[in-house]
């Protein structure tokens, strides 16, 4: 019999709609896989099995009575442990918030509830969403779904590992410098960081107010679109979401990409990219070209100033947010997280303000000089093969070599967070160790539909997104 949890989200909805599956059956299938495989990846912080089964039974009764709440009716999901639910704890991956009970529910959680989704529990994450590897001294390291010796990516580590290991059908994460795109990329998933201000952050534990984005991780572009559409749009409780263009429909009927202009950086822009990664990226461009897209050479700006600008903003805002805890509870931070946050205490206000001013400058230049003649920009997600947890452990190993390696992970994601543009990632190959390689597709402001549509067209021609990790392959 088919393991229902191995269906993708879109297929699971079809199974529910056709009566071939119930929400209870889908939820039980996920719970069975969680029991069997979560110990390998350590994706869950809290499992709410009884509540989820109760909710699933209620969704089945509603469906039988002809009352379908929304497009995700009866679908089990789980999310990064930073989205508040009134009366429940969301830890933010920290010891400091482990007893904090939320008084309000995050807007994205309310919207998923309204769409009919079921919440299986909360997922592991880097402490206070700081760190791109998935290490966590409080909840244990999260591990890659393809090989537990390698990083899960972060900071939405549990979201990447849980969806990658087929424990849930999809998950929300957050992204300040790559925290959706990296765990999606290294776990063979499709992830979307929407435009800054497209998705409400109300009720989400902040990392950096100016750069935080929320978005989905799922197995395909179509799956990601279902979650994205359920949560996107203006929210009076998050003023950054005001005045945005309509979310709009996403076209998944494109059989070709004729007329699409894909920006391709020069060889020198990608000189630091590992040859294995580069080969997979180039092969993905051939697929897009084969679909009729026009490849347009573009010149990337120097990414270092963008990196410095983003780092100044993140460190300054994190220091402001953590100042009191740094004074009163320093022992409750992982040492490597504490030192990175406290470095922000010495940044002068003038430098922070300059960084915010530079953000507009750099965004304007990026839109004009890099995105001006193209619809989407094709970039690496991570310029190196997925590293091991041991090689990137800043807490126990540390040192210049580790810091340099960890710094490279966000080389192509952090600058895109700074300019706030929508960016999706999708798998396009595997490295010599069998770990996924992903491309990143950057769109123009609020053009998430275009980004997801192009990724979908790519996925209709390739099967990288179907090459599940060993722990998620059907028994033969």
């Amino acid at each position: 019999m088919t393991d229902l949890a191995l269906l993708d989200l879109t297929a699971a909805i079809e199974a529910l709609d056709s009566g071939r599956a119930t929400s209870v059956a889908l939820t039980e299938a996920c719970l069975t896989r969680i029991e069997a495989h979560n110990p390998a990846v350590n994706a869950f912080i809290r499992l709410d099995a009884d509540e989820a089964l109760k909710a699933a039974a209620e969704r089945d009764r509603e469906r039988a009575a002809g009352r379908v709440k929304g497009p995700l009716h009866g679908i089990p999901l789980a999310h990064k442990d930073m989205f508040d639910r009134a009366g429940r704890v969301s830890t933010g991956g920290t010891k400091i918030l482990k007893d904090r009970t939320a008084t309000e529910t995050a807007t994205v959680m309310e919207r998923l509830d309204a769409a009919g989704a079921i919440d299986l529990g909360t997922l592991n994450m880097s402490e206070f969403a700081a760190g791109p590897t998935g290490h966590n001294v409080h909840h244990g390291d999260c591990r890659n779904a393809y090989n537990p010796a390698h990083i899960s990516g972060g900071s939405s580590s549990g979201s990447g590992a849980a969806v990658g290991a087929r424990l849930v059908f999809g998950a929300l994460g957050s992204d300040t410098g790559g925290s959706i795109r990296l765990p999606a990329g290294v776990n063979g998933l499709t992830g979307l960081k929407a435009t800054y201000g497209r998705i409400s952050r109300h009720g989400a534990v902040p990392r950096s107010w100016s750069l935080d984005h929320v978005g989905p991780l799922a197995r395909t572009a179509r799956d990601a679109a279902l979650i994205y559409k359920a949560v996107a749009g203006p929210d009076p409780r998050d003023p950054t979401t005001a005045h945005q263009p309509p979310v709009g429909d996403i076209r998944f009927d494109r059989t070709d990409l004729k007329g699409l202009r894909v920006g391709v950086p020069s060889d020198s822009d990608l000189a630091s990219v590992d040859p294995q990664v580069l080969a997979a990226l180039q092969a993905s461009l051939k697929v897009l070209e084969g679909l009729g897209a026009k490849l347009v050479p573009v010149s990337l700006p120097d990414l270092k100033p963008m990196y410095f600008t983003a780092e100044t903003i993140i460190k300054s805002e994190a220091a402001a947010m953590h100042r009191e805890w740094l004074r009163t509870r320093p022992q409750d931070y992982a040492a490597n997280v504490r030192v990175r946050i406290e470095a922000g205490l010495a940044i002068p206000a003038t430098a922070y303000i300059d960084a915010l001013r530079m953000r507009s400058h750099l965004t304007q230049a990026f839109l004009r000089d890099t995105m001006g003649d193209v619809d989407v920009l094709h970039l690496p997600t991570m310029p190196i093969p997925v590293p091991t947890r041991a090689d990137t452990d800043m807490e126990t190993a540390g040192g210049e070599r580790v810091l340099e390696l960890v710094g490279r992970i966000t080389q192509f994601t952090r600058p895109i967070s700074l300019v706030g543009l929508p960016a999706g990632v999708a798998p396009c190959g595997f490295d010599g160790a069998g770990l996924p390689i992903a491309f990143q597709l950057v769109g123009k402001p609020f053009a998430e539909a275009s980004v997801l549509g192009v990724i979908d067209a790519f996925q209709q021609k390739t099967d990288f997104h179907r090459q599940a990790p060993a722990i998620a392959r059907p028994a033969s």
């Binding site: 100033p305 410095f308 010495a346 001013r357 530079m358 507009s360 400058h361």
Partner: protein, 65 residues
């Protein structure tokens, strides 16, 4: 660097955060790296560049396709 170290020590004192000298030196190095990196690009700013321009900019540039 000595003056930056003094500044870091003073700022941490102001925040009531007690850190050993080697750590203060590390923060000074880190701060110097960041400020130098930022200074290399912020010279292009004029007094017309406001910190609040960003949100308006991406809305203006919004694609409606």
């Amino acid at each position: 660097m000595t003056s930056l170290k003094d500044l870091v020590r003073t700022l941490l004192d102001l925040h009531g955060i007690d850190r050993p000298e080697p750590r203060i030196a590390e923060i000074a190095v880190e701060t110097d790296r960041l400020l130098s990196g930022l200074a290399s690009v912020s010279s292009s700013l004029s007094y017309h560049d406001e910190p609040s321009n960003y949100a308006a900019l991406i809305l203006r540039e919004a694609s409606h396709d």
